[in-house]
Structures are given as structure tokens and as C-alpha cells.
């Protein structure tokens, strides 16, 4: 428990606020990596997932790719991409790796959200004369939102923990303190930085939990509460 006290002390010490990477800047860069990666991944994966869910086509490919992507070690990918992109593009390389990490859960959230809409509801919508895009836009997307947000949520949580690895290639994110801490055996610093990351993750999780509730369509929730 001493270590915890030291870690808390580390978080609030003035040295931590100055130094080559002040804590506030580390938090900011850590969050920036997370948010940007998840956003880019969402721009790619959400429309693709909706399309897969709506048409049912390419599902095998999407599932297969997601499975393979999950197996890719992010640590190796970051290093590989830094070498391939060149050292002047470390940020780009790391971001790319995190985007790849974030795509599978978002893709899965998007297509499973659409797929999870009951067939008879989609059928009803088609039967009353909605066009294919109206079915997607007015029925499948709104009813699939909770699962999509769930996908974004797990993507974000994975990325926020994994951005730590960016600290191995440069001075940014809270991972820098951990990498440095490991080399100089400063466990208080390692634990302190880890705690900050956990707090960030919990806050983001909370945000998504609220969002997930907010996007459950009213009628659907009314039914759930009624039970």
C-alpha cells in the first residue's frame, strides 16, 4: 500500500507537472491519440458495418478480417509502422496501429446492431413501402445504435489502454512515464501513470454508458422497463 501512496504522491508532485513531459500534456496527448484513432476507425468501420449488416453481404469477410485483426499484436504493429513510415511519422504510425486495433469492435458493433434488429420489424418496414435506404436510415440504424455505441465503447477502452505503447517510440502519452519508469525502476511513477490511465478509462466508460442509454430508442426502453 506504500507504493499506492507514493504513486498518488507522484501524480500530484510538482516535478510531474514540469519535466520534459508535464502530466497535463501527457494526458492531453494520450486522449488525443485515443479520440483521433477511434474517430478515424469509426469513419471507416461504421458505414462499412452498416452496409454489411444491411445487405448481409461481405459478412464472412468482415468477421474473418476482424478475427485476424484481433490477433495482430499492437506493440509489434506500432514498431513495424514506425520503421515503415519513417521516424518523422511516429504519430501517424502509432495512430494507424491504434486505428487498426479499434476497427474490429466498431465494425462488429455496427453490423451486429443492424443485424440484431428483428427480422419482422425490418419486414414490416419493407412491406409498408420503405425503400432500402429508408429501411436502413429510419429503422436499422436507430434501432442498432445501442450495439454500435457498445462497439465504440469497447474500442475506446482497448485503445486508451494500448496508447500506452506509444510511449515506447516517443515522448507522448502516459505510456512515456511507464516506459521510463521501467528503465529506472521507479514503481511509483509506473503505478501513478497506470492509475491515471485507469481513471481516464473509467471516465470514458462512464461517458459511453450514458451515451448507450441515451441512444436506446424511447419505445424500446419503455418495453424493457415495463418488464
Amino acid at each position: 500500500m506504500d507504493l499506492f501512496a507514493e504513486a498518488i504522491a507522484w501524480i500530484f508532485s510538482t516535478d510531474t507537472q514540469s519535466g520534459s513531459l508535464p502530466l497535463s500534456e501527457a494526458i492531453a496527448t494520450h486522449l488525443a491519440f485515443t479520440v483521433v484513432s477511434v474517430l478515424i476507425a469509426a469513419v471507416i468501420a461504421v458505414p462499412a458495418g452498416w452496409l454489411v449488416g444491411h445487405t448481409g453481404r461481405g459478412r464472412e469477410i468482415a468477421v474473418g478480417l476482424s478475427g485476424a485483426a484481433r490477433a495482430v499484436p499492437s506493440f509489434g504493429l506500432v514498431l513495424l509502422l514506425v520503421l515503415v513510415f519513417g521516424v518523422t511519422h511516429k504519430v501517424g504510425a502509432s495512430t494507424t496501429a491504434f486505428v487498426l486495433l479499434a476497427i474490429p469492435p466498431i465494425l462488429a458493433g455496427a453490423y451486429s446492431g443492424v443485424e440484431a434488429v428483428e427480422r419482422r420489424i425490418v419486414d414490416g418496414a419493407r412491406a409498408v413501402g420503405m425503400t432500402s435506404s429508408q429501411v436502413l436510415g429510419k429503422v436499422e440504424i436507430p434501432l442498432g445504435l445501442p450495439l454500435l455505441i457498445g462497439g465504440l465503447r469497447s474500442a475506446t477502452l482497448q485503445v486508451v489502454a494500448t496508447v500506452t505503447l506509444a510511449g515506447y517510440v516517443g515522448s507522448w502519452g502516459l505510456g512515456f512515464y511507464i516506459v521510463q519508469g521501467i528503465q529506472i525502476r521507479d514503481f511509483a511513477q509506473i503505478l501513478g501513470a497506470a492509475l491515471v490511465i485507469v481513471v481516464l478509462a473509467v471516465l470514458l466508460d462512464l461517458l459511453f454508458a450514458l451515451a448507450e442509454r441515451a441512444v436506446v430508442p424511447r419505445g424500446v426502453r419503455a418495453g424493457r422497463d415495463g418488464r
Partner: protein
């Protein structure tokens, strides 16, 4: 009038759901398709609004082949009531009913007013208009389904086992309601069920189907009961057994009708000879 001409449907997986089916559905009457599970009833129904495309053959509405019509516009012009309602869970009752009107471009306010009137027609209290479907009972949901189908005042109404999921008492109520509505509205109704009693109750014309949508018999309920075409029909409607082959029996409370096993099946209310 709807006419099926030698319609065949083979699903991509090779299932022959409908084989060479021909039928004339007269306008302004109720035609009931009845048959056991998998006999192709739903497939036939969905071919009328092009939710399913026939493999061969053609379907005409008032002499015009529907293959030439835009499927989306065709569907908006035909009312369709699904088993379990198939309502949009995230739209309020009033907006569910107004769906087709809105799709057709009717302004929101006007569509809602129209929808509210239709709620009256199907006997739903307007106070339910602001609820979501999940806040209604099964029977109420079915009525909303009917209201939605009627809202744009289509000539044709397709109903696919609309009362299959509700309990018997509500079901009887909805059946009575359907009869009343049809007396008022005179739509061309195609109704699918696997309950022969429901078929005889609601149908002006009853079509008994066996596997592959083979027509076993077509006729009015009386024609079919009085003269079943073959053993299949006879056994399907049950004339040979149980509740449809009755003898009279006199009791203190009047004459009752009993089946072969001596079990009472009904009362003889009056002899018209």
C-alpha cells in the same frame, strides 16, 4: 381483382415453395388461404406486393401485371398486416399508423390527424396514440397493425396470420372486428391462416392448400364443408372426425350435438329444414 397465373416460386436454396399456382381473388371480398405450416401461404401473399418475386408466372392486379410496377410504390398502395404486428418499436402508435402517409409525403400534422381517425375505425382509443408499441397488449398491437395497413386507404389488404399470436378470447374479438370492418370497408382482402375455423369464419372464398401451394379445394365455406373435394380436404376440415361429424342428443337443457366419442360439441339451437 388479383389474378395469379401459373405462378411458381423456388427459393435460392432449392425449396419449391409454390408450384404452378393459379387463382382469381375477386375484388371487395375476403379470400382466405389456409393450409398447414410450410404450405406456401406466406410466399403467395408476399408475391402480391413483390416482397417475393415469382420464379415464373405472373400476377396481375386489375388486369395489370405487377412485375411492371415499382415495388416500393406498389407496397405503399397495398395494406399489409403481419403476424406479431411488425410495428416499429421506436415510433409511437400514431406515427406507426401514419407511416405510409409520411412516406408518401403527407405533411406530419395532416398524416397524424388522418392516423387518429383510422385508430377510431379499428376501435382503438385515441389515448393510446402517444404510446410506444411495447406499451400495448398483444391484441392492441394487432389493431395498430391493421390501422397502419388501412391508413393510406388501400384497395387491397394482405393479412398474414394476423391473430396467430394472441390468446383465444382476444382472437375471437379481433375476428369479429375484422368481419365488421370488412362489412364497412369492402376491401379486397387476402387473409392467411392455418386455422380452418378462422378460415371458414372470415372467408367469402376459402382456398385450401397442401404442400407446394397445391390447391386442394377452392370455394365458399359452405361449399367446402358440404362437398369436400377429397380425403385430404375432408381430413383437413375434420368432417370425418371429431367436431365436424355430429349426432344430436336430447338432454334436459335442450338438444346438443355430440361427436363419435359421445362428447358434446355444441347445441342445436333451432331446426331449419
Amino acid at each position: 381483382m388479383i389474378e395469379f397465373r401459373s405462378v411458381t416460386k423456388t427459393y435460392p436454396d432449392g425449396t419449391d415453395a409454390v408450384a404452378d399456382f393459379s387463382l382469381v381473388v375477386p375484388a371487395h371480398t375476403t379470400t382466405v388461404l389456409v393450409g398447414s405450416s410450410g404450405s406456401g401461404k406466406t410466399t403467395l401473399l408476399r408475391m402480391i406486393n413483390r416482397m417475393v418475386e415469382p420464379t415464373s408466372g405472373s400476377i396481375e392486379i386489375d388486369g395489370e401485371p405487377i412485375a411492371q410496377r415499382d415495388p416500393v410504390r406498389l407496397r405503399r398502395s397495398i395494406g399489409y398486416v403481419l403476424q406479431n404486428g411488425g410495428l416499429l418499436p421506436h415510433h409511437r402508435v400514431i406515427d406507426n399508423v401514419a407511416t405510409v402517409l409520411r412516406l408518401e409525403g403527407t405533411p406530419k400534422q395532416e398524416a397524424r390527424e388522418k392516423a387518429a381517425e383510422v385508430l377510431d375505425v379499428v376501435g382503438l382509443d385515441r389515448s393510446l396514440a402517444q404510446r410506444y408499441p411495447s406499451q400495448l397488449s398483444g391484441g392492441q398491437q394487432q389493431r395498430v397493425g391493421v390501422a397502419r395497413a388501412l391508413a393510406a386507404d388501400p384497395n387491397i389488404l394482405l393479412m398474414d396470420e394476423p391473430f396467430g399470436a394472441v390468446d383465444p378470447i382476444v382472437r375471437a374479438e379481433l375476428q369479429a372486428e375484422t368481419l365488421r370492418l370488412q362489412q364497412e370497408l369492402h376491401k379486397t382482402v387476402v387473409f392467411v391462416t392455418h386455422d380452418i375455423d378462422e378460415a371458414f369464419l372470415l372467408g367469402d372464398q376459402v382456398v385450401i392448400l397442401s404442400t407446394g401451394a397445391q390447391v386442394a379445394q377452392v370455394g365458399s365455406p359452405s361449399e367446402i364443408i358440404e362437398n369436400p373435394a377429397d380425403d385430404f380436404v375432408a381430413s383437413f376440415i375434420g368432417t370425418e372426425r371429431g367436431a365436424r361429424a355430429l349426432r344430436t342428443k336430447h338432454t334436459d337443457h335442450g338438444t346438443v350435438l355430440v361427436d363419435g366419442a359421445g362428447r358434446t360439441q355444441g347445441r342445436l339451437v333451432e331446426s331449419s329444414s
